[in-house]
């Protein structure tokens, strides 16, 4: 078995299994922890608070918006760009179809490129802010940088393989995908799943007290 066969075959299966099992383990672990029992009578709905907390935190609060607009624009550009390029790129839809049998309409190539450019711009902005803002620098650790760089390398190697003329380039992209999948559950990349829980937890706590989350 060659390099490409290995990274798209056995290594991918192992990585996908680690990703799914370990991420599910962590999410269930968090859910099982539950909340501290609250004996005070509820003044509002915790469920509504959970939902409200999740939705409201998509928007920055008043004065923060002005101070951190770079972070907001960068964050949205990266996450939306990544979502679009992953779920609507023709190559990715083909890949998903191959494994899961389902597919949907892909974006035209120019749309895919544009989404990638927006995602790259966002990710670079987020990363350079991490080291050029003293506070961000203080609260960032190795995991933050590894997570950013792995994601960047997955995206970059994908972009470098766009000509589809050399199998090895696709293989390198897949290698980084595999490493990323294995690293994901053990890192802060897990925020892709856990943000719902953390926002929800805050929201539910406030909601039960009858406060706006």
């Amino acid at each position: 078995m060659g390099f490409v066969g290995f990274v798209e075959g056995p290594l991918f299966y192992i990585a996908a299994a680690i990703f799914a099992l370990a991420a599910a383990w962590r999410v269930f672990g968090l859910i099982r922890m539950g909340r501290k029992p609250d004996i005070s009578p509820p003044k509002g709905s915790a469920t509504a608070g959970f939902i409200k907390g999740n939705l409201r935190h998509f928007l920055p609060r008043g004065m923060f918006a002005r101070r951190t607009w770079i972070h907001i624009v960068g964050g949205y550009a990266f996450h939306l760009g990544l979502f679009v390029l992953f779920f609507f790129g023709a190559f990715h839809i083909d890949f998903i179809k191959q494994y899961l049998g389902i597919s949907w309409t892909p974006l035209p190539r120019w749309g895919f490129i544009l989404a990638s450019e927006i995602a790259f711009a966002g990710l670079i902005v987020l990363w350079v802010r991490r080291f050029s803002d003293p506070v961000m620098r203080l609260i960032s650790d190795r995991d933050d940088h590894i997570g950013t760089w792995l994601t960047f390398l997955v995206m970059l190697t994908g972009c470098l393989a766009l000509q589809q003329s050399h199998e090895v380039l696709r293989g390198i992209h897949m290698l980084f995908v595999d490493i990323w999948l294995i690293y994901f559950p053990f890192s802060r990349l897990m925020h892709a799943f856990t943000f719902v829980l953390s926002r929800g937890h805050t929201g539910a706590t406030y909601g039960r007290k009858g406060m706006n989350p």
């Binding site: 990638s116 450019e117 902005v125 990363w127 350079v128 080291f131 050029s132 766009l162 380039l169």
Partner: protein, 354 residues
């Protein structure tokens, strides 16, 4: 008698036969020519090259001289830069700028481009070995002044990141054939070039975003002033002596405008190369590749100098772009006029005496 009759009859039949045979041959020949002509008849939209051309080679040139004729035929003097800029010259049938473009690219640009950045690195190394790091004379004071806000820093590092990706991929595209293929093989070069081209094309448009952002964030303070003349005469203080300067010195201002102006050329030519259908004259694209490569080599070469002064060459410089703040002593030494402007204190007098 019978014999004579028979003989003459035979002769007549023979003549008739010969005549018929000849007629048949002639008919066949005509017929054959007809079918032959039909079988190669040109398609309806083809142009008959013979149309409009007078007979005989002596008339081909008309009254023109041989050289004039060929010059017009191929599109004017290709060595003349104006010819490359003009739309297709009147009366031109064919242009030979492609050949000259290829020669320029292969024999000059690809051959010598790599030496410029290498030369700059060598000079910087030499300077560093002889003069060493430029230290802050009074040492770090521990007191800092805000120099660049977070938007300025992020825009700078955004440009630096995009530029690095474009620089590396661009150099592989330009110099892969002479520098990678002979040593690592054509296959490796082909893989690297394909990857670089895709990366370069995708990141190119982000350079334009970075350029506009940087321009907006840094243009204030980068206009030239009379005090910059002193900086030039004192060679920027790199060989001793103190030079006065405001927020940015002449070297920094020149770097800023070089980035912006050459950046505009890079963006314009890059757009043409990315969307070649925007022009219908191939020579625009040939000119674009040359300007694009030349601009890139210029920026990359000067960038090494910029990076050197920003890091290993000058103590305390990098703080402005990492923390946004600089040490007061650094400011007094390198940007005394700016120090005086923002603090209202004198840069030369000791603390407490001013």
């Amino acid at each position: 008698m019978q014999n004579t009759l028979l003989t003459s009859a035979r002769t007549s039949v023979g003549k008739l036969g010969t005549g018929l045979a000849l007629l048949l041959v002639l008919l066949m020949l005509f017929g054959a020519t007809e079918t032959y002509a039909q079988s190669v008849r040109a398609p309806g939209n083809a142009v008959n090259l013979d149309d409009g051309i007078e007979d005989g080679p002596s008339n081909a040139l008309g009254d023109d001289s041989q050289s004039d004729f060929w010059r017009n035929f191929r599109g004017g003097d290709p060595n003349d830069i104006k010819q490359m800029l003009e739309a297709r010259p009147e009366g031109a049938v064919l242009t030979t700028t492609g050949q000259h473009w290829r020669e320029l690219r292969e024999n000059y640009i690809r051959k010598y481009a790599g030496w410029f950045p290498l030369g700059v690195i060598a000079l910087l190394l030499l300077y560093h070995l002889i003069k060493g790091k430029m230290r802050i004379k009074g040492g770090f004071s521990g007191k800092t002044l805000p120099r660049f806000n977070i938007n300025q820093r992020v825009s700078h590092w955004f440009m630096a990141s995009v530029f690095t990706i474009l620089g590396v991929t661009g150099l592989i595209i330009l110099l892969g054939r002479p520098l990678i293929a002979p040593y690592l093989g054509k296959e490796v070069n082909s893989v690297l070039t394909s990857a670089s081209m895709q990366g370069h094309n995708l990141f190119g448009p982000l350079f334009i975003v970075a350029l506009v952002w940087m321009f907006i964030k840094f243009v204030r303070g980068n206009f030239f002033q009379w005090v910059d003349l002193k900086w030039i005469f004192k060679l920027g203080g790199f060989f001793g002596g103190h030079v006065s300067s405001s927020q940015f010195n002449f070297g920094e201002k020149s770097w800023f405008w070089l980035v912006i102006l050459v950046g505009i050329v890079m963006s314009g030519t890059g757009i043409l190369l990315l969307f070649p259908w925007l022009v219908d004259d191939l020579r625009w694209l040939q000119l674009s590749t040359i300007l694009h490569a030349g601009g890139a080599i210029l920026l990359i070469s000067v960038l090494f100098g910029h990076i050197y002064v920003g890091t290993a060459g000058m103590e305390g410089s990098i703080d402005s772009m990492l923390k946004g703040e600089v040490d007061e002593n650094w400011a007094k030494e390198h940007h005394d006029l700016w120090y005086e402007e923002v603090t209202g204190k004198s840069a030369t007098e000791e603390e407490g005496t001013s």
